[in-house]
Subunit: 236 residues, 2 copies
Amino acid sequence: MTNNLKAVVLLSGGLDSAAVLAIAQREGFTVHAMSFRYGQRHEYELRMASAIGVKNRCAKHVFVELDLRQFGGSALTSDIAVPVDRSVDQMSSGIPITYVPARNTVFLSYALAYAESIDCRDIFIGVNALDHSGYPDCRPEYINAFEHMANLATKSGVEGGTHRIRIHTPVITMTKTEIIRQGLSLGVDFSVTSSCYNASEAGACGRCDACLIRLDGFKEIGVRDPILYKSREELA
Amino acid sequence: MTNNLKAVVLLSGGLDSAAVLAIAQREGFTVHAMSFRYGQRHEYELRMASAIGVKNRCAKHVFVELDLRQFGGSALTSDIAVPVDRSVDQMSSGIPITYVPARNTVFLSYALAYAESIDCRDIFIGVNALDHSGYPDCRPEYINAFEHMANLATKSGVEGGTHRIRIHTPVITMTKTEIIRQGLSLGVDFSVTSSCYNASEAGACGRCDACLIRLDGFKEIGVRDPILYKSREELA
């Protein structure tokens, strides 16, 4: 299937965006991937993003340097400790300390700038409203508002035309299990993805929220997660 | 007058944002200025932004490095020639080639991230819908859409409260003459501003759209523009 259209796909190196990339390609889009180096703890995740881009033959992959650290305020960009061994109930109360101020807004703005410069009006992002229920910028109403703004911000908004800018969020209401199942059916190689907040060559920690959600997702469909985990003994 | 509140003010080094800074201070805000280095032709403008920030005693001034050049597509960031000696009628037809894809969206997204990280909910930007009638991201409907999105994107959107995020655009419907008059009444030193698309130490060109609009603005109120212009002879 092909629609001869370009799409900008935000690729974090995580499981969700890897599935989203495969979904965009299934819909016939030629993918221009975009990833961000934003002072996060884990360069490892970006190396996975790069590998996913190559594996899936993206037409182009742009890496953007951001420095959100100068604004401080999140466990993903500064030295705050990431919580471990929490239950799903504990995870879902309030805004996580891993929340980065306005991060998805900055990411989507860059994607919009990139899309407009290559005459592309389709942007894919792997936000998920279930796993990240505490993140304001993962909710459908936020995405709708961004899409509305984007159509006023750009040439297409002024010049009109039938092909409006669309922010595609194909996994926004899926459970982790559904995302994994969907990804596997599209041939996604989840061994080159990373979800852990403390990921490195030595393996994922297996204890942070992201690891626990991911492990649960694979467990539920009875498939072994192909990435490396540090053993419980090593962690003790 | 003071309201004990912080505001993030986007400072380009131009005339409009210098006036906006003074307006924000008159309203009692403690100003955290933000400027962008985005591969534009004119470093000179940023030096003016820095000087304005110092002159007006901003509490802080953050300079953000962007690289919009990798997306190409604008006379302000690439090697396309800037038009000169155009009439106002010629200026106002269509989207100017000086339009940078999604620029204000990227700028405002950074401002939003910065504001949220310092617990601030007021952002000022010197967009103007008259001078830049061809820029989609200078229109009031665009700003309203951004503000709506911003309130869904951030903690304040989730946590509620009476103090919503506001995008202030005090000069959006003013003519250049009105902006200059307002600025002068607030003591703005326009000698440390720059509007020219080709500005340098040697002076403004006096021929690009921005120079012509600026010169007209000062002329209309009978005040001499305090910045340096290259003489017409030098330009010939």
